[in-house]
Structure formats: C-alpha cells, structure tokens
C-alpha cells in the first residue's frame, strides 16, 4: 500500500485548503509526485499526472469557486485513484478506485465562477449514480459468473458492465447527459470530467474482461461501440456550439475506446488494445483540456487549435493517430474487421466538425496561463512524431497487472 502516504498528505492538505488554497495546491502536487514515482510503468503514470497537473492549472483560470482549495485535492485524489486502478489486482481496490474517481466529479461539475450550478449537478449525479450501480453489479456478476463457471451469468454481467461504462463515460445510447453537462457546466470542470475521469472505467473494464473466457458478449460490446461512434460523429456534424461539438466528440471517442474492449478474448493482443486505449485517452484528454480552455478564453491561436483538431481526426504523426492506430491494429489482430472498417469510416466522418471546431476557436491570441495550458496541450500532440515505443512497453508491463487475484 504505497499509496497510503500520498492519501494522508492529501487529506491534510484538503483540510487546510479551505482556508488557504495554496497549501492544498502544494500538498496536491506532492501527493501527485509521490503517487507516480512508486510504480513500474512510470511513463504512463507520469502522463496521467501531467493530465492532472493541466487540470489543476486550468482550475487556476477560474477566479473563484465554491470549492476553491478543495478542488486541487479532488483532482489529485482522482489521479491517485487512477494510478491505483492501473496497478491494483484486487477487485475491491478497483471498485474503490472507480468510486474515488467518480465521486469528486460530482462536486467539481457544479463549480463555476458564479456559484454552484446545482441543476447541472443534479443531471450529472443522477446518471452517475445509475452508472456506478450498473457498473458495480456488472463487475460483480462477471467475476461471480467466472467463479461458478456460468457463461450466462458472465454474459449478463459483461452487458451490465458495458452499459455502466457507457453511461459513466457518456457513450451512446446512454449519452444524454453529455451534451447538456458539457454545454451548461463551466468549461474547466467539464474539461476535468472529459479528461482525467475517463481513465479508470476503462482500466477496470479491461481487468474484469481479462478474467472472462467466453466470447459471447463480444458482439454486444461491438454494437455499443459502433452506435456510440456513429451517434457521436453524426451528432456533431450539425452542432455549431463548440462545447456541444466537444460533447459529441467525447461520445465518439468513447465509442472508439469501447471498440478496443472487444479484443479481450484474445489475451495475446490485449496489450496492443490497451496501448491504443491509453493513447486515445491521452489524446482525448489533452485535446479536451486545450479546447475547453479555449472555449473559456473564447478562442486561441489557430496553429494550436488546428493541431488539436487534426489530432482528434487522427492524423499522423499526432497523438490521436497512434491511439486509433493501435486500436485498429488490435481489432485487426483480433479479427474484428467490421468494427475496424467502421472505425475508419467514422474517423473520416469526423473531419468536418473538427475543422469547424478549430475554425470556431481560432483567431484570438491568449496570454499567460491559458496560453500555457492550450500550448502544452497542443504541443504534446507532437510527442509521437517518434513512434511511441515507450507506451507499448508500458502497456506490456501494465497488462501484467491484469490478472485479478483475491479480494
């Protein structure tokens, strides 16, 4: 339990933070640093930490917030939970991590400069509660079905699990909260929900699916993925508000990632799928942070906005390309050709609205912190000009933690 210390630091920081936000920030960063140095595939943790740091930095842009001080701690908490989820092989820990990532967002989503947005919170929380329940029941049933060797229980479990994920991360056909929340919430909390909160559900889903030895749910997962991609991309086509475009883009991206889950029945290729998922999540996270910040600032430099948009489209050698690339590779290796082709067609369909998005958010210079956040988000897309071997290696290491053992 290497993570106990950061957690304690964090709790202390949060307690003091209500009075003095700076303390909270410092403790959050310390906890964050501690959490990533302890484990093997450090680069992945570091990248996730980087997402978290950007999230915290973005929070600074909000002049005031009802959570000021606690919000840094909440983000750090989410990060710690994410790292735990990566390394933990205990079912209970995973469920804990899931809840730890989910709950802080309930509070964050309501944050805004003009007081708490309760209506957004209600919508969001309603869905999240249902999602969490579905997810946990699904996960438990899957594990249970595995232990009693019942295919049908397992299959029902997987279905519920996937539905839970779909609702949690906002994949169609259970995505209704996403456009509304992204549009009406403050952009900064929205960017946190769209970035850091997305890792854990998929990591856990992979780990649970890894225990399964039936292929029956494959088609179901595939169908959900396909519906989500299509609904997201098509929905975005006619949207004209940047936040709504980003909402549908999330729906589509979650579809791509769910598609990668179908590889679970070919354990030898899971590392590829997982690498793809991680890359896609990174691309999605940085892109969303950059774009939401740009929405808040009512625009940004056109170079940055185009780089991020092109990364979302999946243009090599940007980050977004490699995510799709490895997901595609995994799908092809696992012989799920139809989903691969669908994914490809979807990536072409997304071109118009990402370009529109880049255009809508272009042509306004930023200064200071906002420039930094957006600039870093954009430049990080160029990280993969050299093929991301490091991620493949990390992915192989992380897949080693996939075997669930004990409670």
């Amino acid at each position: 339990m290497e993570l106990t210390i950061p957690l304690i630091i964090l709790a202390l920081g949060a307690a003091f933070g209500l009075r003095k936000p700076e303390i909270s920030l410092v403790t959050a960063l310390v906890a964050l640093a501690l959490s990533i140095v302890v484990e093997a595939a450090i680069l992945v943790s570091a990248m996730i930490a980087f997402v978290a740091i950007l999230n915290i930095a973005a929070l600074f842009l909000m002049k005031k917030s009802y959570l000021r001080g606690v919000d840094y701690a909440l983000v750090s908490l989410m990060l710690i939970a994410t790292v735990v989820a990566l390394y933990s092989t205990s079912f209970a820990m995973l469920i804990l991590a899931f809840i730890l990532v989910s709950t802080p967002t309930y509070m964050l989503v309501m944050a805004s400069e003009s007081g708490a947005k309760v209506d957004v919170g209600v919508k969001y929380i309603t869905f999240m509660v249902v999602a969490t329940i579905l997810f946990i029941i699904g996960a438990a049933l899957t594990i249970y079905g595995g232990s009693v060797n019942s295919e049908s229980i397992q299959t029902v479990g997987i279905c519920l699990l996937v539905l839970g994920i779909a609702m949690e991360v906002g994949a169609a056909p259970l995505h209704y909260w996403v456009p509304d929340v992204f549009d009406t919430a403050d952009p900064i909390p929205a960017s946190i929900i769209a970035s850091l909160a997305k890792f854990v559900p998929f990591v856990i889903a992979f780990k649970i699916l890894f225990t399964v030895n039936t292929e029956k749910a494959l088609l179901f997962i595939g169908v959900i993925a396909a519906i989500s991609m299509l609904a997201g991309n098509i929905g975005a086509l006619t949207s004209n508000k940047p936040a709504r475009i980003l909402a549908y883009s999330t729906v589509a991206n979650m579809g791509y990632i769910i598609a990668a889950l179908t590889v679970f029945y070919k354990p030898e290729f899971v590392y590829l799928a997982f690498a793809g998922v991680l890359l896609q999540l990174f691309a999605n996270a940085f892109g969303k942070i950059g774009f939401f910040t740009a929405i808040r600032e009512e625009g940004t430099n056109s170079v940055f906005s185009y780089i991020m948009a092109l990364s979302f489209i999946g243009l090599p050698p940007l980050l977004g390309f490699w995510g799709k690339f490895y997901i595609l590779a995994a799908l092809i290796y696992a012989n799920v050709m139809w989903l691969a082709v669908l994914l490809v067609i979807n990536s072409a369909m997304s071109v118009p609205y990402y370009i529109r998005l880049a255009n809508l958010l272009s042509g306004k210079p930023n200064k200071g912190l906002a420039l930094c956040i957006i600039g870093i988000s954009a430049i990080i897309m160029l990280l993969t000009v050299v093929p991301p071997n490091w991620l493949i290696d990390s992915s192989k290491v992380l897949v080693g933690y996939f075997k669930l053992g004990g409670v």
Binding site: K123, P173, Y176, G235, T238, S239
Partner: protein, 625 residues
C-alpha cells in the same frame, strides 16, 4: 552521328531564334526567316551528301533497351531524303516572300522546319519507334500549320463558300476547324499504328524494319494476327495519306498557308503514309510470303487505293477552289501509290519502285502547282478558280510553268509521268490473280486525272471569269516554282538516259502499245478538260461537295460522340448529387434527430436512458445470452 544530328537538328535549331524573338520583338523577328531557310538548306545539303557519298547501310545509336534510333540509307530513303530536303528548301525560299507580312512568323517557321525535320526522320528511320517520333512530329506540325491563321478572320483562309449550308451541314471550314479535323483524324489512325508497333516489338523483339524476320513473325502470329497487326499498322498511313473514309481532313487542310499545302502534299505528311507502306513492303517482301492474312491486307490496300483515287479524281474534276482541287488530286495520286505498292504482293519489288517513282514525279509537279496556286491567290485575292487570258498574259512565266507541270503530270507521252504511268499500267495489267478491275480503274482514273489538270490550267489562265490582278513583287515565288518544275525535266532525263537501274523497265513499258493507247486517251481527256473545264450540273455539285462525305466528320461522328458525352455528364451529376448532396443530407437529418433528443429535461433523459437500457437488455436476453 554528327551527320544525322545536323540533318535533323539544323532546321529546328535554325528556327528557334525566330520562334523566340517573335514573342519579344517582332522587328528583329521579321529579319530572321532567312536563318530558318538556311537551316533547311543545310539539311538539303546533307541529304545530297547522303545520296552521293554515303554507302547504303544502317546507322544505329542506342536509345531505349532493345530499341535503337536507327537510320538506313537504301534505294528508297536516299532519293526520298533528297526529294524532301529539296522541296522543303525551295518552298522555304518561296515562303520568304509569300509569308512576308504574316502575323505569326515565329510559329510558322518553327513548325515549318519541325515539319521538315520530322519528315526526314520518317524517311531515314529504320526503327519503327524512332520513325514514330518523326511521324508524331508530322502530325503536330501539320496541326500547327493548317491552323496557322488561328484567328479565323480572313476569308481567304477558309475552305468552302462562307455561310453556305446543305441541309444540316455547314459547307465552310475555318483554319482552326481545319487544324482540328486534321489532328483528330490522324490520332484516330496513329493509335492503332502505335499499338501495332508495340506488338511487333513484343513478338519480334526488334523494331528495325530491315532486320525483323517478317516471315518468322508472320508464322508466329498466324494469318488472323497478321491481318489485324498490319491493318492496325496501316491505319496510320491510311489516315495520314487520307484514304477513304479519312479524306476530309486533307480537303480542309487547305485552310493553311499555301506553302504549307505545297509541302504537305508533295514530299511530306501525306507522302509519309505511302512512303511508309512502300518501306515496310520493301522489307516484308510479301511476294515471297504465302499467307492468307498478307494476301487479304494487300488486296484491301490495292482496292482501297484505287477507289480512293477514283473518288479524289472525281472530286477534283468538279472542284471550284484552286487548292481544294489540288488537294483532291493529291488524294487521287496517293491512292495510286498505295495501289501500285500493294500490287507488289503479286508483281514483286518492281511495283514498289513504280509507286516510288510516281511519288517523286507527283511530288515535284504537285509542289509546283501549289506554289502556282499560292501565287495566283496572292495576286488575285481569290481562292476560287478564276482568271482569263489576261492572267496568262500578265503572268507568262506562271502560265508556262503551269502548262509544263500539268502536262508532265498528266501522263501525256512522252513526258515524265507518262513513263511512270506506263509502268504502272503494266503492273496493273499483270495482276492476273486479281482480275481486270485494277487496270480498268487505273485507266479511268488516269483520264479523269488528266482532265482536271487541264481544267486547272484552263480555269486559271484561259477560261475563268475575269479578275483584277494585284501584281507586285513575286520574284522569289517565281524562282520557287520555276526551280521546282525544272526538276521534272531532270526526272525525264534520268528516265530517258537510264541513269537509274530500274528505269529501263519504265521506258520499255512506255513503248508498249497498250501504254501508248492509254497515253492517247489521257491526251484526249486533257484536251476535253481544257476546252470544257466546268461541270455545272447536279452531278457536278455532288462531286464538288465531295459526295457529302463531310457528314461523317461534321455530323455523324460528333453526334454519336456528344450523345456519349451528354450521358456521361448526366452520370457525373447523378454521382455528384448522390455523394455530395444526398449522403451529407442524410447524415445531417440523422444528426438533427440525435440532437433533438437533448431537450435539457432530466426526467426526459432518465426515461430515455432507462428505455434504452431495457431495450438493450431485452435484446440481449432474446438473443439468448
């Protein structure tokens, strides 16, 4: 190698200064045509050098893998080369004056010289692909020269009576149309020919005409293959030499400057087709090969030639324009050359020699007549046949030259063409296996031919309507055609003195009774043509309108083409609509549908989500998981 480079490049290089200068400074440009003619002269000297001093044989230089740029000096090419060089040079000199005030001299001289160089390439090439370079050069240069007066603003440059219509056919053609008709017809033939060349390379592994083992090749590909291959190949010569039904372009090629017509119709372009046929027949030696395919093709060429020749002669007989008359007569002569050369299948090499000599005779005579026609158009400002005795009086030299050229070419004994024609009579007579038809056709054609030559003389100098002459200058032009016509005497001397190894046969043939009878017939026809030069009847009108063959070029083929084009256009619109309107429209409406769900009301969302959830679970359980 330098010899060949000088031969081929000197005309082109010499014309580049004027081509470039013309775009920048026309005053300098006006002084440069002489340079181009010097280039032509150098080429001419080289051809003479080749004739006199270069041993017969092959000269080859590496080009593509397995394909050389190869030149050959043999009986055909050494004479043909000099002929080309000389005629181009003389017409060049003539053109110095004729084209003096033109508005596009850079273009004119560049293409004129390119034309000459291309023809020389065709003449000397032994390799079919390097020959094709010259061949394509001829095509592009003829397009450039026929459409030289691209503005279409000068009545003198048209063919046909302006604004005349017969039914749905417009019976007049501008220079730009003339150029288009030429190139479009030629492309039609060149591409099958190109395929044939490539196929020969594929099957024989060699493209040198003199080195291909034709007999082996023919054995290899069988009779049907030979027929297809040869016909594809001959599509090139047929279109370039304007055999039926590809003759229309030649008539409207008269929209170009007269110098161009003279060059086009004597030693280059149209002659290239027949020359090429002679050249390959020379080496295929069809008389040694017994193959149904070969026989079929040669028979076809024989009759196609004769019928085209008759067609051309009849059109010329009724034609009312100076240059169109000459163009039709050229077509007629080309037909005879094809026919005579095709007779080699049964007669042997001699038939090719006859055809070749006829080509030479015709070249000088026809060049002369064109140059005369050009001079007449220049002085009368009228492209139709016109002029009474006053013209003859005021342009004595021109009159005399015309008499000599027509009489010599008609085949009146004992002048130049008589001997060649006699040999041709003999060749056709000897075609026992084919029957009497060729000989009969030849005699008819000869008579008609003679008649329209007399008509040309009569209508321009004696019996035509009165015209006003604008006499000025003309020195260089006169020199040009005088030089040209004098070559006919030279030829006569060559034949009568037996300087060439083959001509003895001609003289022998000339002394046959039948030949002499034909000679008399031709003379009579000439007299009739001279006395009654017009043919103003309905039949005459049909002949003058070229049997309305232009319907093919101007109506039938374009209509079919446009039907396809229109269909394609509709197809494109449909695809465009489908992919760029219908599909995006579909996506848009689906997209709006998806977005309509976002009402913003939580209860609504919960209903939807739970509904979807239940639905999915029901589907799953029904599916049996």
């Amino acid at each position: 190698m330098w010899l060949w480079l000088v031969l081929l490049l000197s005309p082109i290089i010499a014309s580049i200064p004027i081509a470039v200068a013309w775009e920048f400074n026309r005053n300098i440009g006006r002084k440069l045509p002489v340079l181009s003619v010097v280039g032509l002269f150098i080429s001419f000297l080289v051809t003479l050098y080749i004739l006199l001093f270069v041993e017969e044989g092959r000269f080859s230089y590496p080009w593509l893998p397995g394909i050389e740029i190869a030149f050959i000096v043999d009986y055909l090419s050494k004479y043909m080369g000099v002929l080309t060089g000389f005629i181009a040079f003389v017409i060049g000199v003539y053109g110095l004056e004729y084209m003096k005030d033109d508005y596009r001299l850079g273009w004119y001289w560049f293409f004129f010289n390119l034309f000459t160089a291309s023809m020389l390439m065709v003449v000397y090439s032994d390799n079919l692909l390097s020959l094709l370079i010259g061949w394509e050069g001829l095509g592009i240069a003829s397009w450039g020269l026929i459409g030289h007066w691209f503005r279409d603003d000068d009545e003198l440059s048209y063919v046909g009576v302006i604004n005349r219509k017969v039914g749905f056919l417009k019976m007049f053609w501008s220079p730009s149309t003339g150029g288009w008709r030429a190139i479009s017809t030629i492309r039609l033939g060149d591409m099958p020919m190109f395929f044939a060349v490539a196929a020969i390379f594929a099957f024989a592994g060699n493209l040198n005409i003199s080195q291909i083992d034709w007999e082996l090749l023919i054995e290899k590909i069988g009779s049907f293959g030979v027929a297809v291959l040869l016909l594809a190949f001959l599509m090139g010569p047929f279109t370039k030499s304007a055999q039926l039904p590809f003759s229309e372009w030649l008539m409207t090629a008269m929209t170009g400057p007269t110098t161009v017509s003279a060059l086009l119709h004597s030693a280059t372009m149209v002659a290239a087709g027949t020359y090429l046929f002679m050249r390959i027949s020379w080496y295929i030696e069809p008389w040694k090969i017994h193959d149904a395919g070969i026989e079929f093709v040669y028979l076809l060429v024989l009759f196609l030639g004769l019928i085209s020749s008759l067609y051309g002669a009849l059109v010329a007989l009724a034609s009312r324009e100076r240059k169109v008359l000459l163009a039709a007569s050229t077509m007629s002569s080309l037909g005879l050359m094809f026919a005579a050369a095709a007779a080699s299948k049964w007669i042997g090499e001699f038939a090719i020699v006859v055809a070749f000599w006829y080509l030479i005779t015709h070249a000088f005579a026809k060049a002369t007549l064109f140059l005369v026609a050009g001079h007449l158009i220049h002085e009368t400002h009228d492209r139709f046949l016109c002029g009474d005795l006053e013209v003859a009086k005021k342009m004595k030299l021109t009159f005399v030259v015309t008499i000599i050229a027509t009489v010599m070419l008609a085949g009146i004994p004992p002048l130049t063409a008589y001997w060649v024609k006699s040999a041709m009579d003999e060749v056709m007579h000897a075609l026992h296996e084919v029957g009497e038809a060729p000989l009969f056709l030849l005699i008819v054609i000869s008579a008609v031919y003679s008649a329209f030559l007399a008509k040309f003389l009569s209508m321009n100098f004696v019996k035509g309507r009165h015209v006003h002459l604008h006499l000025h200058g003309g020195g260089l032009m006169k020199t040009g055609y005088t030089l040209m016509v004098s070559m006919l005497f030279l030829l006569l001397a060559v034949i009568l003195l037996g300087i060439d190894e083959h001509v003895e046969e001609f003289v022998k043939a000339g002394f046959h009774a039948t030949s002499f009878m034909v000679g008399v017939l031709v003379t009579v026809a000439y007299a009739i043509g001279f006395v009654k030069p017009t043919l103003e009847t309905k039949v005459g009108q049909v002949l003058a309108d070229r049997f309305y063959l232009m319907a093919l070029n101007d109506f039938i083929v374009p209509k079919i083409g446009w039907a396809f084009v229109t269909a394609v256009d509709y197809g494109n619109r449909a695809i465009d609509f489908f992919t760029h309107r219908a599909i995006p429209g579909l996506f848009e409406s689906v997209s709006k549908g998806i977005r309509v769900l976002q009402t913003g009301r939580l209860s609504h969302y919960v209903q939807l989500a739970l509904g979807a959830l239940m639905l999915l679970l029901i589907v799953v359980s029904v599916a049996g998981w």
